[in-house]
Subunit: 410 residues, 2 copies
């Protein structure tokens, strides 16, 4: 019991240690229809011109522009209609001098023609088209390659695949898309008192909260969680459970709150891997552990979170989430991570000597601190986000400005 | 050919018509592990107290507070240790006068005890505990129901299920969660010129873009897209395809650009349902069609988007997306829909008489308009969002402020 192993580190030092961690990034090719919100793993260049051929931009008649020179409302010129093309048709006839082809929007421009007279400026009788307007070459034609030329880069490695960007992949006909594999994250709750939701609640037991909060927060970071059964708080149970996850990139444990539990995890990681951090100078979340396990291709990285749900999620958000997003490839993406500047609704006392993460609710342009302890799950479901009180600050006065990091932006 | 059917309506009028549309909301019960980003369909009340029993908040000794009165560093009092409890254990013995039970954090407080003396303020020898500090009743105890009382409401119908809110559901032990079923949306691209990505590109053909942009945008609105094969631009093909989707809530078609295609869809909807809107006074996207089909339990709602990818997605974003979010239950959620106020990087000309949606890229605090026609897919993949030019405005000067709606916020 006690904190004999704890060697408290400053939060900035811990962030540096985490930033230095690496996992082996994998790439997979997946179907275009499955790429939404995935991260592109290569720069993409188009292998075709776009449009791939000269297209009619309007309904009308494909002509040689010079055949229309001099045409006007008062002085229409006559052209012979030789063919009719809709979008998707293939021209069979060349447009020679004095000839024209009817084209719907999107139809290919036949050989010989260089422009389209809009249908509004024509009259048709039998096979003869009266043209009432002169056009310049190129008029009402989307020329081949005018949008993108073969060989041009259209998307960059690391792009978050939004509907618009998926549209660009469709446009060039790609059906298998190289994306970064989602890192896999085992999520393990430890604690003799814990049972899974849905089971009968006996005296002395609590429903496990962390498995669900952490695994869903893992999803939000672009990673794939693998939920474990609950593990008893003893050396062998924890060690055996860790050995079950040889193929994951990350293992996240939380809890338990039983006596000396933090030390048991510490002993396991000491024995089978390497402890990098045990103890962070923050509140809540002091007994956090970070280590590496030489199990996989590279090391598996282990984060040991505290057992209290609020503490576990705050430590996850502050230290683990940025790392997961980085390795998932979404940290540089379009995702928002901005804080909101709000006025504090009341005086707030903090503990000196440790950085403090304080939950708060947004109301208008004020932040209302939630004054519940970190065992209270209602604190989490009521909070819109949190603000940080630096370790040398003891009191923030009512009305002072704080920077709230909304959960929805994490 | 031509727009004989078009009866242009103002965009506000169209928005009102769409707001009046209804679909039959369905509810389903799904596993707790699958509820991330779903919408809660009922108010949730806890059926247990939280914590469900009096718990030790610290490692130490459960005592009768009055047995410690008078204890101090200089004057320790002795208590008999009768039992040891960790989290998850069940007490077998009552703490009578002069007795105490060792408790780990999270362990239940035994009958008779009302407070916990922290381990730091004790010494133990054999079965005797020396207490160096007096405690008041309730000290270091999380009392039953102090976080939530049985019967209290913990979440509201319509809540977006974030990790924090899923934590609250876990805390009360719920394993099957009532959520709104995701509305189903058939997405149909029409056009004789279109082929699916991955196929060989023959002359006159184009890769279908709208199926992917629209179906992924549908996902972003909390609905389930069902992607159709490409449909030829003729009456029977379109009608038969629409009849294939009898069980969806919404059908979205786009295109094609071949002559008179808009009219064919119009004829189909006129014959088998009811046309509500055909033609909106906006640019791009004028020939948009909205109708209802009496196929399902209620009506199926049909949106006929233009064929050009930029036009289709802008009309989707402006008119369809808010409706889909509404029926999916995510419109009132925490999702952000704010616009950014930016300075225009250059003078911008618009067409008078129609509301104009202009694509733009964000650079610092300026918006750079993307001056490409609505056939250019690069316009979409380069744009960060769009701004609206009202129909009575022809020119926005360089440096004037505009409100950009980022795609990422849609």
């Amino acid at each position: 019991m006690g904190n004999v192993f704890l060697n408290l580190r400053d939060q900035d030092e811990v962030k540096e240690i985490i930033e230095s961690l690496k996992i082996h990034k994998k790439i997979e090719k997946i179907d275009l229809s499955d790429v939404y919100q995935r991260i592109l793993a290569e720069d993409i260049y188009t292998v075709i011109d776009l449009p791939p051929f000269d297209r009619a931009a309007m309904d009308g008649y494909a002509v040689r522009a010079q055949d229309t020179f001099g045409a006007s409302e008062d002085n229409p010129l006559s052209l012979d209609l030789i063919e009719k093309l809709g979008a998707g048709d293939v021209p069979l006839k060349n447009v020679a001098k004095g000839k024209c082809t009817e084209v719907g929007t999107g139809a290919p421009i036949p050989e010989g023609a260089d422009s389209v007279v809009m249908v509004e400026f024509t009259n048709v009788e039998d096979e003869t088209v009266q043209v009432h307007e002169a056009v310049a070459p190129g008029t009402n034609v989307s020329t081949q390659g005018s949008d993108m030329k073969k060989g041009e880069q259209i998307l960059s490695e690391g792009s978050l695949l939004t509907p618009e960007k998926i549209g660009a992949l469709s446009a060039i006909g790609m059906s298998k898309i190289p994306v970064f594999s989602k890192p896999t994250v085992a999520v393990i709750s430890t604690g003799n008192e814990l049972i899974k939701p849905g089971q009968e609640l006996k005296h002395g037991k609590l429903y496990d909260i962390n498995s669900e909060t952490i695994s869903n927060a893992v999803k939000a970071c672009g990673c794939t969680p693998i939920n474990s059964k609950i593990v008893k708080d003893d050396y062998d149970s924890i060690k055996n459970k860790i050995y079950e996850f040889k193929d994951v990139d990350i293992i996240i444990t939380s809890g338990g709150t039983s006596a000396g539990a933090g030390d048991v995890l510490r002993q396991v990681v000491d024995d089978i891997g390497r402890v990098l951090v045990h103890g962070i100078s923050v509140k809540p979340g002091k007994p956090t552990l970070i280590g590496t396990l030489p199990e996989g291709e590279g090391d598996i990285i282990l984060f040991g979170l505290p057992g209290y749900p609020v503490s576990a999620l705050m430590i996850f958000n502050t230290f683990v989430a940025p790392f997961l997003k980085e390795i998932a490839g979404i940290s540089g993406s379009d995702q928002k991570k901005e804080s909101l500047t709000l006025k504090l609704s009341r005086r707030y006392h903090s503990a000196r000597g440790r950085s403090h993460y304080a939950l708060a609710k947004i109301k208008g342009n004020t932040a209302i601190p939630i004054l519940k302890d970190s065992g209270a799950i209602t604190a989490l479901s009521e909070a819109d986000g949190y603000f940080e009180v630096p370790k040398n600050v003891e009191i923030i006065e009512k009305g002072e400005k704080i920077k709230l990091i909304p959960f929805s932006n994490l």
